[in-house]
């Protein structure tokens, strides 16, 4: 079983690794201004760090700021590992109990949330390392996503996804499984 979502990276490591994953020019200036894709991740990181230090109100203000500037709703309680990439933050929704590993890429319009069904004390997704989620996918309920998995566009995931699998369709079905990590 994968050791998903249990990263122990601190604030500065997260910031540094997020930074390295951004190939666009002017990212640094843009992020400091709070705009551009890196800006949304930065705002979430600050909100998350303040929430962990039990600061009141400010994390929620930052969340609203993120919603206003980037149209993405990331709960400050979500725990996403370093190297998070949001190429286009528009329409991304991450719930409060989401746990994700390192180097995940989350595209636009992705919803990772959950309902009332409880499993292992969570109601939302547990995501491995190096997972790619393509535009418009929905991860509903306490599903486990293995390392190096790829969730296809407009897929609705309600069951677990094995490591290295490419899933697609509504509901999600396995399209292919990578033999090795290099295939991805």
């Amino acid at each position: 079983m994968n050791t998903t979502g249990t990263h122990d990276a601190g604030f500065w490591e997260c910031i540094r690794e997020d930074w390295c994953g951004m190939p666009q020019p002017y990212t640094a200036i843009m992020a400091i201004l709070g705009v551009g894709p890196a800006g949304s991740v930065l705002i979430y990181r600050i909100a998350h760090a303040l929430k962990a230090r039990r600061v009141r109100l400010v994390p929620n203000v930052l969340r609203v700021l993120n919603r206003t500037i980037h149209h993405c709703d990331i709960n400050p309680e979500a725990r996403v590992g370093p190297g998070l990439r949001l190429p286009h933050p528009t329409g991304v929704m991450l719930g409060g109990q989401v746990r994700a590993g390192r180097n995940c890429t989350i595209s636009q319009h992705v919803t990772i949330g959950g309902g009332s069904h409880v499993r292992d004390g969570r109601t939302q997704a547990l995501i491995g390392n190096n997972v790619t989620i393509r535009p418009g996918a929905v991860l509903s309920g306490p599903v486990n996503i293995g390392d190096h998995a790829v969730i296809g566009s407009r897929t609705v995931v309600t069951k677990d996804v094995a490591s290295g699998a490419l899933v697609g369709g509504i509901p999600a079905r396995i399209v292919s499984v990578a033999d090795s990590i290099e295939d991805r």
Binding site: G21, Y26, V35, H71, T90, G91, S153, R154, G168
Partner: protein
């Protein structure tokens, strides 16, 4: 430092006059020509009211056209900032490097995402939540779709990968297009397949 000096310094071989010459050779319309074509596709008074008062699609197009023009003249940073303003105001993420033909129409701008290096033909119309491009950053570089003229992409559709969509084709709502589409057909489903011939006129 003056803007003109910045331009010269950044790119001595593509000064304004050289760019203008190249545009004349390739017959690519300039900023005002693009704007005139876009304006022609919109109901006049409604657009005027939207530009002045509201969050109209035309204002999103205007911001994109300005950012794209500045990008062509190699102005630094400002195109990216304009793109961010477009995201904040309209929820519409169109990279300045996108090549959008004249007469573009955005029905509702919310959630439209177009990656860099995507090329769209003339008189294309996009609905809300449409994604065109790869959608994620890959080690293989950018492999972006090319859309023909008069293509209609309905709400929530995803067009991705190094594909071509023919003139006059329509993409149905929430479809995922990953393969080439011939001209004049309607495609839909995940993954998309050809549903029928388009009933729209070929004009």
């Amino acid at each position: 430092m003056k803007l003109s000096e910045v331009l010269q310094e950044n790119n001595p071989r593509t000064s304004r006059s050289a760019l203008r010459l190249r545009r004349r050779q390739t017959q690519q319309p300039g900023f005002w020509a693009y704007l005139r074509q876009d304006w022609a596709g919109e109901p006049f008074l409604r657009t005027l009211a939207f530009v002045i008062f509201g969050f109209g699609p035309f204002r999103a197009m205007l911001i994109y056209r300005i950012s794209s023009t500045l990008h062509r003249y190699h102005v630094p940073l400002i195109p990216s900032l304009l793109r961010s303003i477009n995201i904040t105001l309209h929820g519409c993420d169109i990279s300045p490097t996108v090549e959008f033909g004249g007469g573009m129409r955005l029905a509702h701008t919310v959630g439209i995402v177009i990656d860099p290096h995507v090329r769209l033909g003339k008189k294309c119309m996009l609905f809300q939540n449409v994604s065109i491009g790869l959608g994620d950053m890959d080690e293989n570089g950018w492999q972006s779709p090319t859309l023909g003229d008069r293509v209609l992409v309905y709400s929530g559709a995803v067009v991705r990968g190094p594909i071509k969509i023919g003139d006059g084709a329509s993409v149905a709502a929430n479809a995922e297009v990953t393969e080439d589409v011939p001209p004049g057909v309607v495609v839909g489903g995940i993954p998309a397949r050809v549903l029928r011939q388009s009933s729209r006129s070929a004009a």
